[in-house]
Every structure is written in structure tokens, then in C-alpha cells.
């Protein structure tokens, strides 16, 4: 029992790392554009499908498909931002929300239309990793390591490059950033692209161990929302910690109360946080 519990706990940390990755994308978009991208889960779904089709049709290893997924979804996201979101950037938040919700519907149902509702999976044989008598799921471990590496790269990008500094400046104060000569419009576009790109990368990692179907994004967008609420809107560290906590909670609740109640447990946690600590554990309350 104890061994099983330990295995589940490790699994929770591993998937939590991947959750942290896509939540960071959502959070970055919120920080710089001050909008909630409801279609974020659909970019995860697209990442999963691209990895699946590349693997099935050309035999490309999912990890190598990252080199295609990130740029593709980066440009798709950036283009969408420039064409649509940029036009409503100063509008009431409900307009932006409904707009991204429209994108969610569009992407989800296009996937349904082109690829049908079939459940698909990438079947790869990974060697089993054992630590003493503990068995660790290899695809989840790969996803975790990949997520950590991506997050570290993102961190360096944001702190060590000119563009990263610009993005952080807009996140901090868009008006002041504009005054010192930063191209705020460009930063918004790049940030949205990075956010959707990160969602796609997370999708590739998830596709290593999870089924792929058109509405799969809904699960992850709901998880991302809970993590953002838990960690605090606009908090980098909060997304990391929140991801690990929710990953852990999901694994443990599947073990103790049964997997079919996973969503209900998540919902209860969500309500409790909103009731007692609406700014999140690490949140400063955000600017809204």
C-alpha cells in the first residue's frame, strides 16, 4: 500500500510539472494582454494531434515533432492575436472572453470535423524505469523533464533577452513600457504566440500518455483555470506550485475516491479557494 501510494504521489508530481507548463502559457497571456484565452486547451489539443499525425504518418518521434509543433502554434497564435484580439484589446473583458470562446468552439469542432470523435493514442514502447521496487511511468517522466527544461528556457528567455525583458515590462506596466519605446503591440503578439506554443509543447508531452480526442482540451483548460486560481493570477511561481499541487491532488483523489469523481474533487477545491483565498496562495490580487 505504502509503495503504491508513493508511486501515485510521484506520478502526481510528474503530471503536475506538465500542468505547470501549459498554465504558464495561459498566465503569461493574461499578464501581458490582460485577457483570458478560453481556447488555450484547444492549442494543447492541436499539439497532441500534430504529434499523433506526424508519428502515425511519417513515424516521427513525438519528441522530435516539438521542433514543428512549437513554431507552428507560435505563428498560428501570433497571427490570430494580430487579426482578432488586437482589435478588441481595449474593449470590455466580456468581449474578449466571448471572442476566445468562439475560437474554442471553432478549433474544437474543426478537429471533430476533420479527425472524428475517435479516441486515438500514440503507441510507443518506453522502457520501464524502476527505482528499487518503485515503478515510474516513463512517458510521464519524459514529459516532466521536458516541461522542466522548457520552463527553464522560458525563464532565461524572459530574464536574459531583450525581447523577454520587453515582455516583462509590458506585463509590469504597459503604459510605461510604451513610453520608454517598447513596441507593446508586438510584445502582445509575441506573448500570445509563446503562450499558444507552450500549450502545444505541453500537448506533445501529454500525448505520450493520454488519449487524443477533439474535446480533450476542455479538461486541461479547466485544470489550468484551477491552477491559476490556486497559484494566483499573473504569478510565475504560483503556476509552478499550483501545477504540482493539482497534479498531486488529481492522482491522489483518483486513488482514494475513484477516478470518476476527479472532476468533482477539482470543482470542490476550486470553490473552496474562491471562498477563502480568492487571490490564490501566491497571488497579489492581480491588477483587475
Amino acid at each position: 500500500m505504502l509503495q503504491h501510494l508513493l508511486e501515485v504521489a510521484i506520478e502526481g508530481i510528474l503530471i503536475g510539472g506538465i500542468y505547470a507548463l501549459f498554465t504558464l502559457g495561459l498566465n503569461m497571456i493574461y499578464g501581458v494582454l490582460e485577457i483570458i484565452n478560453f481556447a488555450h486547451g484547444e492549442f494543447i489539443m492541436l499539439g497532441m494531434y500534430i504529434a499523433f499525425w506526424l508519428f502515425t504518418l511519417t513515424g516521427l518521434h513525438p519528441l522530435l515533432s516539438l521542433a514543428i509543433v512549437f513554431p507552428l502554434l507560435f505563428f498560428a497564435g501570433a497571427a490570430f492575436e494580430r487579426v482578432t484580439i488586437e482589435k478588441v484589446i481595449k474593449a470590455h473583458i466580456f468581449i474578449q472572453t466571448v471572442l476566445t470562446f468562439g475560437l474554442l468552439l471553432l478549433l474544437q469542432n474543426l478537429a471533430y470535423f476533420f479527425w472524428s470523435a475517435d479516441y486515438r493514442a500514440i503507441r510507443l514502447n518506453f522502457p520501464l524505469i524502476s527505482l528499487g521496487s518503485l515503478h515510474i511511468s516513463t512517458p510521464r517522466l519524459i514529459g516532466f523533464i521536458g516541461s522542466v527544461v522548457t520552463i527553464i528556457i522560458l525563464h532565461f528567455f524572459l530574464t536574459r533577452t531583450k525581447m523577454g525583458t520587453g515582455i516583462r515590462a509590458v506585463d509590469e506596466n504597459p503604459i510605461a513600457a510604451e513610453l520608454v519605446g517598447i513596441n507593446v503591440k508586438k510584445m502582445r503578439m509575441v506573448t500570445f504566440g509563446i503562450g499558444t506554443g507552450l500549450a502545444g509543447v505541453a500537448g506533445v508531452f501529454i500525448s505520450l500518455y493520454y488519449y487524443i480526442y477533439p474535446t480533450v482540451g476542455s479538461i486541461f483548460i479547466l485544470l489550468a483555470f484551477i491552477i491559476v486560481v490556486l497559484g494566483g493570477m499573473g504569478s510565475f511561481v504560483g503556476s509552478l506550485a499550483g501545477g504540482l499541487i493539482i497534479g498531486e491532488l488529481e492522482s491522489l483523489s483518483a486513488l482514494f475516491v475513484g477516478p470518476q469523481w476527479k472532476e468533482v474533487v477539482a470543482m470542490v477545491v476550486f470553490i473552496l479557494i474562491l471562498l477563502f483565498k480568492p487571490t490564490g496562495i501566491f497571488g497579489t490580487g492581480g491588477r483587475k
Binding site: 466571448v98 474554442l104 468552439l105 471553432l106 470543482m267
Partner: protein, 318 residues
Amino acid sequence: MGEINLPKLKTFKILPYLLFVVALVPPLFKNEYLNSVLISIFLWAAIGASFDLTAGFIRVTNFGYAGFFAIGAYTSGLLALYFNISPWIGVFPAVAFAAALGALVGLLTLRLHGIYAAVFSWFLAETIKYILAAASDITRGYQGLMNPPLFPGISRFPYYYFILGILAFEIIILTKIARGKMGFAFRVIGEDETAAKSIGVNVLYYKVSAFTISTAFAGLLGVFYAHYIGVITPDVSSLVITVPALAICYVGGVGSIWGSIPSSFVIITIFEAFREIGAYRFIIYGVLLIVVMIWARTGLVGLIRKAAEKMKVTEKEK
């Protein structure tokens, strides 16, 4: 976004005539298919209008609308099945239950920044769906819950007049509210909640009111739907209901109440006329929402207004 889209008082003078004409359709055409299409149009117009009270006034997009609709539908359906209670009586607890939950959500949204309210209501509807599906021993889950009809016989005649009556009643009530002090307070809160608070608007009271009224109508329409359609599944608490509600409201013209009527008419007629495109329904809704949000925020109401003004100008020129 300060424009006011509410119907002019003149519109109310036309209303009785309009109702009279529409009421003549069933006896004149004696066409059950036509009746069923019009019933759909009235039902969806009523859904869109009740959705508008939160979306267009306090500016909270209720992504969980279907949850309240489902509460109404299932409460009445389950009461009929297990306690043999007629839907004419079951409608009261059904509406009360939906409205009570709506009040609770309204209360919770106070603690939430605008966006969390939307996410929260969406969660709620999803959870209701999971519960309805998981408790299949009671609700029959995806096998479907059978509901007794509201009227004897198989004719759609009585349903036609019933839903038409509900729609007319709802539009009048909601427009009265929207024009009054309450509607004004809703708008102020929708524009800027902090400013509303600072000038002494009781945000708690008005937000809870908007949600309660909107969800009470959602529950009522859920009851009608359950007993009109006959069989319901947990999917009534999903985006299958929320998305058309949202689209009809926004395409019609958010914050207008009556915009849902032309919009429901156009959207339902198009989907009925071109059955083949039904499969791509949600793709179309998605594109419509994106387009309307960027280029046509006043929706059909805005277009109608513009056309009316143009006509006036040309008349004067003559």
C-alpha cells in the same frame, strides 16, 4: 460601449398587433412542421433574452446557463416520475430551485473578479452534468429521462401558444426591469463595478437580482423544454444549450433583450432550411461569435436601428 439598445416605447404599441399576427399562423397554415419550427424560434428567443440579462447588463457571461436550464428540466421531470407530480405544479419547485442556485452563484461572483465568474459558472454546469450522468440510477443518465407531456394529444397547437405567451411575458418583464431603476443599476455595475460601489449602488443586491431573475427564466424554459421534447439527457447541462443561447444573444445584440427574437428567427430558420450544415453548427457559432465581437458588437439590433435611421433620413429628404 455606452449605447442603449432597449426598444423604444413605440415598439410596445406594435407588440399586440405582432402577437396577433403570429397567433394566426397555426390556424391559417395548419402545418405541424411550421409550428414546430416556430416553437423552436420562440423557445430560443426566450432563452437568448434571459441570457441577456446577465450578459448585457451586469456584463457577466453566464457560461453555465445550461446548468440552470437543466436544473429546471430535471427537477420537474424527476418529480413527475417519482412522485407523479404534474409539470404544472412541478414547475414551481423547478423554477425556485434554479433561481435559488442562481442567487447563490450571483452571491459568489461578488467575490470573483469578472472573469472568474464566467469560469465558475461554466464549472458549475459541467459539474451538474457529471452528477446527472453519475447518478444514473435516479436520473437514468444517458438513457434519457422520459417526461409526461404538458398537454394531452399529439398536436403542437397548445405548445405553440404556451411558449409564445411565455416569450411575450418574458420580453415585457425583462424590458420593464431593464428600463427601470434596476436596469440602470445593472448597467452601471456592468460598466464599472468599483465606480458603481463608490456612488452608493448596492452591488450585492443588484448582482444577485440579475442572476436570480435570469436563472429563474432559465429554469422555466428548462421545464418547458423537458416536457415538450419528452426525453432529456445530462447533455442539457452542457454547451449544447449554452452555445446557441450565447450566440443568439450576442448575434441579436447584447443588452437589448428583444434582439434575441430576430436573431433566433434568422439562426433557426437558416439551420432548418439547410439541414446539411447542421453538422457544422458549432463551427458556424464559433465563427459568428468571433465576427460579431470584432465587427458587429451591437448585433442585429444595431443593423435594424441603422436601417431605420436611414429610412427616416430619406423620408425627410423627400
